[in-house]
């Protein structure tokens, strides 16, 4: 299991953990029941989703579920259509719950509603169904509002408190990235950031070469650019490599959300001195616990219910502030990586 | 007796349940011109494909110079010295002429020496007595030129047996002469030529021996001296058939339907003028390249005229698109069925209704399938299109039947002026006689007909008047009573005397 020794950010993110004080009210699902579950990532083959699977398997073993936990997903080129198909299949197989990191936007809502109607619960994690339809609740990695503050802070640090910076995001229709960027814009309104100027938001569509070219485009377009903020694991590496290849690391710093294993060399050589991420292992672990509690009837999935999630303590279901009418379970916190802790996290 | 250069012994070949060849035996001797005749569907194509390695026989054997051989592919056949020229010329439109000639040649290094290649290509083309720029791309070559390229390709391979499948179908009289002399030259060099043609006159002029096949079976092989035209045709079709009677007098004609004055298209043709009456058949004769087809294309609006005037039923008209032409009651049955005429992958009924689909549209623009089917069926019967029903793909029909489908398509537009471009090119004697009968019947019903044909006997059998063109200009307009083969050729070739041998 990946150990995160990073310094945890407390501000506002601790909401979920605050449940510990009210432990008495939190329900604990009885272990050893039969829960057949499917963990359905956006697509197979990249590290974060594999880590989430590890966490989920850990939780399943801990709870001693007599059912099966399957980790299936589409291939990258077929993500959206593949997810809808696999969710349908899981429904016809009468799986108890599908844990979905949604990559199909609202398109999948109808399929999810059909699944719920047929008795298969749908719990989302990492990326929710934007309109909330068909989903029992969303296990959020971090508070989407607070991630904005963290990105604003990292940009502030790296730019030395003043100057121009730009955002390199995934795609114009990625719900979570857009929410984070909006949250960051909100944070930037604060007095502290008055000398920090967000000049542009560009999109690399989570493709290495597009992100690489966009990053270079930004540097060309804004000669005084100090920071590129990439809230996407593909974008941040591509941007860092582009700055390194063009010898621009002294001038333009790269930051955002990245995987330590992929970012280690750029952190060490100063191209990307600071970036953030949460633990995908924990996200998988928590998602499984929540889903298990839901399937076994320990919780109903109503706002205000609390449940315990093994080593992570207890969590509460609440209104999702970003999606009216939808519910979430907030994990938090996340970790800021620098040259001091990145190597340990990478291994 | 000389040993056969190519011999088939008891060869049989079936496709699904259809036996295309049954117990076919044939011996080709070196240096002979051996004609093979038979109706379409008699098995000639299959025979050629077996000799060139495209198909392998189900039974029997193939011997080359006495050795039993297995021909698995055209390469194998070429390695044994057997090559073929086909009815539809097989050229590579995007490659230049020289490359087209040497494409099958495995001799020479891996590296292309363009200069040497062009020189050698020039030499071979000159040997054929043709002037052709070997550096130009093959796209845009006329059918005759494409065929020249194909013959040159076979020559470059130093073949022992050259199969010519309908080589003169697209050639004009003067090009036919040249081809026949090439065939004789090949013979003199010891090459055996297998000559397949529907034009019986050519066979009598050059063949040493004639083999008749019918229904996949060998009927006879005889020295040419022992063969008569009537006998040969009877053997081919299995019944007696009228040969083309030359028309001696024009039919009585009605009022003028189409009047053309000074028609021309810049850089292509000019000075074409005639009056065409209802019920009249006007034939456009001339050598290939005389631009007769362009006159047809101009009248039909595909390549519109840029000068001159047209009067149709007494009023002035201009035609710039095929749609206009069709609305004015003009139809054009093209020479190249594949390119301009038929959708080969569609069934017969769709092809027939294609030009008149508007008539079958019902509410919401849906096609009335039932009416369409009845209409198609009536043509299948009336024109004797040989297919079990109208749902058969047109590509699966023989050339003659494709021609009839095309004709049905245009008849369905109820034309008043019908232009035929080479209506019988590459179709067999039986089908040809039927097409002629249809043309005569249409004329008798009052349709004004224009026939563009390179086949002089056909012209003389159909025409009331003959319009002769040379190099894009009208050089004569003869009444049938004053037209003769010699006179037309003389006008077309621009020589004082006839060139017919």
């Amino acid at each position: 299991m990946m150990k995160m020794k990073g310094l945890a950010l407390a501000a506002g993110l601790m909401a979920g953990l605050m449940g510990t004080t009210a432990l008495a009210e939190a329900v604990t699902a009885a272990p050893g029941q039969e829960v057949n579950a499917v963990l359905l990532p956006k697509f197979l083959g990249i590290l974060p989703f594999d880590q989430a699977n590890r966490g989920a398997q850990e939780a399943a073993a801990e709870l001693g579920s007599t059912g099966k936990l399957e980790f299936i997903g589409p291939t990258p080129e077929n993500s959206a259509a593949g997810q809808i198909e696999m969710l349908t299949t899981a429904t016809t197989q009468k799986q108890h719950v599908v844990m979905l990191s949604n990559n199909a936007g609202d398109q999948i809502a109808a399929t999810a509603e059909a699944a719920q109607a047929a008795g298969t619960k749908v719990v989302t994690w990492d990326s929710p169904i934007p309109n909330g339809a068909g989903e029992s609740f969303f296990v959020a990695q971090v508070d989407f509002g607070s991630i904005g503050t963290v990105m604003a802070d990292m940009a502030y640090d790296l730019a030395g408190g003043a100057g121009e910076f730009a955002v390199l995001s995934a795609s114009p229709d990625a719900a979570n990235q857009n929410a984070w960027i909006e949250a960051m814009k909100g944070a930037l309104a604060g007095e502290k950031y008055k000398d920090l100027k967000l000049v542009d938001v560009v999109y690399g569509n989570d493709q290495s070469e597009e992100s690489y070219n966009r990053a270079l485009g930004l540097v060309d377009k804004y000669p005084d650019l100090k920071v590129i903020m990439a809230p996407t694991t593909v974008g941040i590496v591509a941007a860092a490599k582009a700055m390194q290849d063009e010898g621009l690391c002294e001038k333009v710093k790269v930051s955002g959300l990245g995987l330590p294993a992929e970012m280690v060399s750029y952190s060490l050589n100063g191209c990307a001195p600071q970036f953030a991420l949460w633990s995908f292992v924990d996200l998988g672990y928590l998602t499984y616990h929540a889903s298990y509690a839901l399937v076994t009837g320990a919780i109903k999935g109503e706002v205000g219910e609390e449940f315990t999630a093994g080593r992570m303590g207890s969590f509460k279901i609440e209104e999702d502030p970003g999606r009216p009418g939808a519910k979430r379970v907030l994990m938090g916190p996340f970790t800021i990586y620098t040259k001091d802790n990145v190597e340990a996290a990478a291994n | 007796m000389t040993r056969a250069v190519l011999e088939l012994r008891a060869v049989a070949k079936s496709f699904a349940a259809t036996a295309a060849l049954k117990d076919m035996s044939l011996a080709i001797e070196p240096g002979e011109i051996h004609a093979i005749v038979g109706e379409n569907g008699a098995g000639k194509s299959t025979l050629i494909k077996i000799m060139t390695g495209v198909h392998r026989p189900d039974a029997g054997e193939i011997l080359v110079e006495g050795r039993a051989v297995t021909l698995r592919s055209t390469q194998d056949a070429q390695a044994e010295g057997i090559a073929a020229i086909y009815q539809e010329p097989m050229v590579f439109p995007d490659l230049n002429v020289a490359e087209n000639i040497f494409i099958s040649n495995r001799a020479g290094g891996a590296w292309l020496d363009w200069r040497a290649m062009f020189a050698e290509a020039d030499r071979i083309v000159a040997q054929l007595g043709v002037s052709l720029d070997v550096r130009r791309a093959a796209s845009g070559l006329t059918l005759a030129e494409q065929q020249t390229v194909e013959i040159a390709r076979a020559l470059s391979l130093k073949v022992k047996v050259l199969i010519m499948d309908e080589p003169t179908a697209s050639l004009s009289a003067h090009e036919v002469e040249r081809l026949l002399s090439i065939a004789r030259a090949l013979k003199a060099q010891g090459v055996a030529v297998i000559y397949i043609s529907h034009r019986l006159d050519e066979i009598f002029r050059i063949a040493d021996r004639v083999t008749v096949i019918r229904d996949g079976q060998h009927i006879s092989t005889r020295p040419i001296a022992e063969v008569t035209e009537e006998g040969m045709v009877r053997e081919m079709v299995g019944r007696a058939i009228d040969s083309f009677a030359v028309k001696t007098a024009a039919n009585a004609v009605g009022e003028v339907a189409l009047s053309v004055r000074g028609l021309g298209r810049a850089g292509v043709f000019r000075g074409v003028g005639f009056d065409l009456a209802k019920g009249e058949v006007l034939c456009l004769a001339g050598l290939v390249g005389a631009r007769r087809t362009d006159v047809g294309l101009a009248l039909f609006g595909i390549a519109p005229a840029t000068e001159g005037s047209l009067h149709l039923h007494g009023s002035d008209v201009t035609i710039t698109t095929p749609r206009q032409a069709m609305d004015l009651g003009i139809a054009y049955v093209s020479e190249d069925r594949r390119k301009l005429g038929l959708a080969m992958t569609l069934p017969i009924f769709s092809n027939i209704s294609l030009a008149s689909l508007r008539r079958f549209l019902r509410t919401l623009g849906l096609i009335d399938r039932k009416a369409e089917g009845i209409m198609a069926e009536s043509y299948r019967k009336a024109l004797d299109i040989r297919a079990p029903d109208c749902r058969i793909e047109v590509g699966k029909l023989s050339g003659g039947n494709q021609q009839k489908v095309m004709l049905a398509k245009w008849l369905e537009t109820k034309p008043q002026v019908l232009i035929f471009d080479e209506p019988t090119r590459g179709i067999d004697v039986g089908a040809k006689a039927e097409v002629h009968a249809i043309i005569r019947r249409l004329a008798a019903e009052g349709v004004a007909v224009i026939v563009i044909s390179s086949d002089l006997p056909e012209v003389l059998a159909l025409a009331d008047r003959v319009l002769v063109m040379r190099e894009g200009r009208q050089v004569g307009l003869l009444d049938i009573s004053e037209a003769s083969q010699e006179r037309v050729i003389a006008l077309a070739a621009g020589t004082g005397a006839g060139v017919a041998a």
Binding site: S208, E209, L216, V264 | S73, T74
Partner: protein
């Protein structure tokens, strides 16, 4: 006496037209973007085009034979990953061997396509649509969700994208660019001068005629796919060097990029015609438009893709119109002979 235009072939006319379209694009953006005509912009576009170029050249060969290869993007991904892994395990591997390894892996993947298309007689669009998913799934299985990272690669490879072979004034000519251009040149010369290579065009020009002319068409098609695979492999190598970080998504969408470059470059989608020089110009044109748009203030991010599509269509239209106009001039000159 023919005029200048009369002596050049239609193919050359297309190239001239394409060049005019490229020139128009560059001139337009130079009025719009500050510092556009600079050595930096040259580097940006040349290094970015270098990744697509080999794959586009391979695609062109396949399209010339009247086929299509939709699996090249997946091949690129597989090659980049496997080569990266091999270099991680054997950092002392000679660079030349690494390139050959990448092309070899690509060739194997291409050979599978080739066998199915040439001898299996399955239409190439179906075969490669299948292998597009198949190779990608293989990569997902094979990679086991681990990423190739820059840290695991030998230093020479990480530094390769910055390395210049030589400089002309301020213009750096990078090694990756030279690598792509060499591949382009070799294929280009072969297609015009190598007897065997002309058969690609022959087969695409008229498959029936090719059969009748005794060309072993299936073998020619097979070789085309193997070459396309090998060239996708070369792109995979450049991709690996340039981006360093390889996951299962590497090369997604490259099949469409390569087809766009090839079609813009004047290769007939119906097979039989086209030049490698055209493909080079097509690749550069598409890349120039793309890279220019990202630096142009007039257009928002949301409209960029739509505008890229429109500009590509405009370039193709301009090119077609210009080629037709030039051909008309040529006929006139020819007619005045």
């Amino acid at each position: 006496m023919n005029g200048l235009i009369g002596r050049v072939s239609p193919q050359t006319l297309r190239l001239v037209a394409l060049f005019l379209a490229l020139l128009a694009t560059v001139l337009f953006f130079s009025t719009q973007i500050e510092g556009y005509l600079s050595a930096r912009m040259f580097n940006r576009i040349s290094t970015s085009a270098a990744v697509v170029l080999p794959i586009a050249v391979g695609q062109a060969i396949v399209i010339m034979t009247r086929n299509i290869d939709l699996s090249v993007g997946s091949i690129l991904g597989v090659v980049a990953y496997m080569t990266g892994q091999a270099l991680g395990a054997m950092p002392e591997m000679h660079p030349v061997f690494a390139v050959l390894l990448a092309m070899g892996i690509g060739a194997v993947a291409g050979a599978i396509n080739g066998v199915l298309v040439a001898w299996g007689r399955v239409p190439s669009i179906i075969v490669t649509l299948g292998t597009l998913a198949l190779y990608r799934s293989f990569l997902v299985e094979y990679s086991n969700a681990t990423t190739i990272t820059t840290a695991s690669l030998p230093q020479w490879l990480v530094e390769l994208p910055q390395a210049s072979l030589f400089s002309i004034g301020a213009l750096d000519v990078r090694v990756t660019v030279v690598l792509a251009l060499v591949a382009c040149l070799v294929v280009g010369v072969a297609l015009s001068r190598l007897r065997a290579a002309r058969k690609f065009l022959a087969v695409g020009s008229n498959p029936d005629a090719a059969k009748m002319a005794g060309i072993d068409a299936p073998r020619v098609v097979f070789v085309a796919f193997v070459l396309a695979g090998a060239l996708a492999g070369l792109s995979g190598f450049i991709f690996l060097a340039k981006f360093g970080n390889i996951t299962v998504v590497a090369g997604l969408g490259f099949e469409l990029k390569s087809i766009a470059a090839v079609v813009v470059g004047g290769v007939s989608i119906m097979g039989g015609s086209g030049t490698i020089l055209g493909v080079l110009m097509g690749t550069v044109l598409v890349d120039t438009i793309d890279n220019s748009l990202t630096r142009w203030d007039m257009v928002s991010e949301f409209w960029r893709d739509a505008l890229l599509g429109m500009l590509i269509m405009a370039a193709v239209t301009l090119d077609t119109l210009a080629a037709r106009q030039l051909a008309r001039l040529r006929r006139k000159e020819g007619g005045a002979e």
